[in-house]
Amino acid sequence: MSKYTEDDLKKELETKEYEYGFYTDIESDTLPVGLNEEIIVAISKKKEEPEWMTDWRLDAFKKWKEMKEPEWANVKYEKPDLQKISYYSAPSNKPKYNSLDEVDPELLETFKKLGISVDEQKKLAGVAVDVVIDSVSVATSFKDTLKEKGIIFCSMNEAIKEHSELVKKYIGTVIPKTDNYYAALNSAVFSDGSFCYIPKGVKCPMELSTYFRINEAGTGQFERTLVVADKGSYVSYLEGCSAPSRDENQLHAAVVELIALDDAEIKYSTVQNWFPGDSEGNGGVFNFVTKRGLCENNAKISWTQVETGSAVTWKYPSCVLKGKNSVGEFYSIAVTNNFQQADTGTKMIHLGENTKSTIISKGISAGKSQNSYRGLVQISPRAKNSRNFSQCDSLLIGNECGAHTFPYIETKNKSAQIEHEATTSKIGEDQIFYCNQRGIDTEKAIALIVNGFSKEVLNKLPMEFAVEAQKLLEISLEGSVG
């Protein structure tokens, strides 16, 4: 009988290829590479933006030029040459579709390969999809249903034109242009994204969903999402991402701002599987994303993320708990394999009294990957009786990967209660043999163990997303055991 060792298991994991590596041949309209004021004006012009927006972009660009790329994250990579990127790439045959049936069949095929066919999505009644391919929305569904409730859900580009006042009022209020290097870059060059507004007291009747996808070679994706939940409203927002496999690295620098006014609740779920690079560590997406939400009185924001992709991830969905009794939650599963590097976590900024935050982070590392949790819990002097609970668990597969935890706690109010728990474990050969002996093969056994490990977070995802996330976890970690 052949010996099956952990080394074999590791090899299998390394040979796993990116299953979503394909390229959709849709005609594109791409701006020349490079970054300067002319390009920014050109982007703004292509999108027929009002003047205030053009000025806003130029201001961001001016500030960005004075900033330096951050180096504090626990990741190593060659800095992308930002002058070699094209900052605008939109499918040139881009009429808006009234129904999904009119969508380019190749695009539908793309969705099929993703396992999330639009057909399937339509069947999942209650899911409205705004598809962002290379930064331009090509299809939005269920618009009419939403319109009846006064809900605005559209591309950022459209929002800037049609709901200018709303956008102007809120954009950049949670993540200022100068927040960080990549947020500033995004503010200058963002090409599209999604905008969502839920009016006072309205509970959004369906999950809102956006799909992002990088298609064109040598492009960066800089989408910008703004979700505003007015007083007493509720919305659950889903975001999915994928990118075709390419040899060169692609840059993704998105900004997501959430605003939950008094008594409002926003649930924001992400499943991210950008191309992670091949098993040698070539290619893959650099995912440098800034996500932050602001909670007013009694408001609540929940971030749930399943991160399986990207070569380098640098991402900290955060909550500013400004209002009294506001609640911030962060539930995360981050999987790294081969040469992937992830530095992800959250910031919970407690400003108001009786604010509460929960952090559950599950990191899974395999291959030669490095997986870091970085989190900040900050209690300001006037945040009386604030509470935080953090739990960071790491699961290792093999001997060449790493798991790191960087928890930062700053508290300036004595009444605060802060708890932090952390564990590190390894998938043991004994666990795998136990499963084998019950008729469960090694591939399935790993999936079972990883799902068990991640359960607390998977349970937070909306049903249809949870199924997809489980599938992704399996794909990310399993080799084809032959």
Partner: protein
């Protein structure tokens, strides 16, 4: 059903089994007894195909098939089950989910469809009743925080669900008080039929008061040195293993 011929096996370059011969037929209960370090648990691990155990000579034939190149999961699919001496914890995976996966993987391997949720629930309920297990037990993570008795009972519960042809009970009595021992033994007896077989591996005779074997074998230094009926177990209990060692020498 199971035929072991001249089995030699080593672990980490150390020879443990040095020529084991054993035949088990349907409907039989066999017990393997022996002092610590005689190779009892190694025998169980080799039969189930655990990777660190290398077969160097001889063969294991199960249902007329040589198991040499058969993976542990395929051996399970063919109907070999082992109740572990130290059952493994898998946090976050409920007993129900674990068993459901095990059953469906086995069915898949046999070219059958997955068991419907309805049938699965019914079967779970039935086997819980049979083994006097509270159904709440099923929604706990498998073996996670279980007491010694609960772990062993869970093993027997899995055996009941999987309905193996050959069940190997590896030191199932270790760490059990007398009440737990009776419950476990009672479960095994209820599951016993003329179509399956049980191989009990134990250091002590006390489990054999409750699971009565047809044959008792004494394993010593990697070989079966004596076989007999259930009375052999009593004799060992009374006299210890030393007289066997003497017998071998002479």
């Amino acid at each position: 059903m199971l035929e072991i011929k001249n089995l030699h096996a080593k672990v980490e370059e150390k020879d443990i089994l040095k020529g084991v011969n054993l035949e088990i037929k349907s409907g039989e209960i066999h017990a393997i007894m022996g002092p610590n370090g005689s190779g009892k648990s190694t025998l169980a691990s080799v039969i189930t195909g655990k990777e660190e155990y290398e077969m160097t000579e001889g063969q294991i034939v199960f249902e007329n098939e040589n198991l040499e190149d058969v993976s542990p999961e395929d051996r399970a699919h063919k109907g070999i089950f082992m109740s572990f001496q130290y059952p493994i914890e898998i946090p976050g995976v409920t007993t129900t989910n674990f068993i459901k996966t095990a059953i469906n993987e086995t069915r898949k391997a046999q070219g059958e469809k997955e068991m419907s949720a309805k049938d699965m629930l019914q079967k779970l309920r039935e086997k819980c009743d049979l083994l006097d297990i509270d159904q709440k037990f099923l929604s706990r993570s498998i073996n996670d925080g279980f007491s010694g008795g609960e772990k062993k009972r869970n093993e027997i519960f899995q055996m009941a669900m999987l309905e193996p042809k050959l069940a190997i009970l590896d030191e199932t009595d270790s760490g059990l008080d007398i009440d737990a021992l009776k419950i476990v033994a009672n479960g095994v007896n209820k599951l016993k039929s003329k179509d399956n077989a049980v191989l009990v591996i134990t250091h002590y005779q006390r489990l054999l008061d409750h699971i009565v074997p047809d044959f008792v074998h004494v394993l010593f230094d990697g070989k079966i040195v004596k076989s007999g009926g259930k009375e052999l177990a009593f004799e060992l209990e009374k006299k210890g293993y030393d007289w066997i060692k003497e017998e071998i020498k002479s």
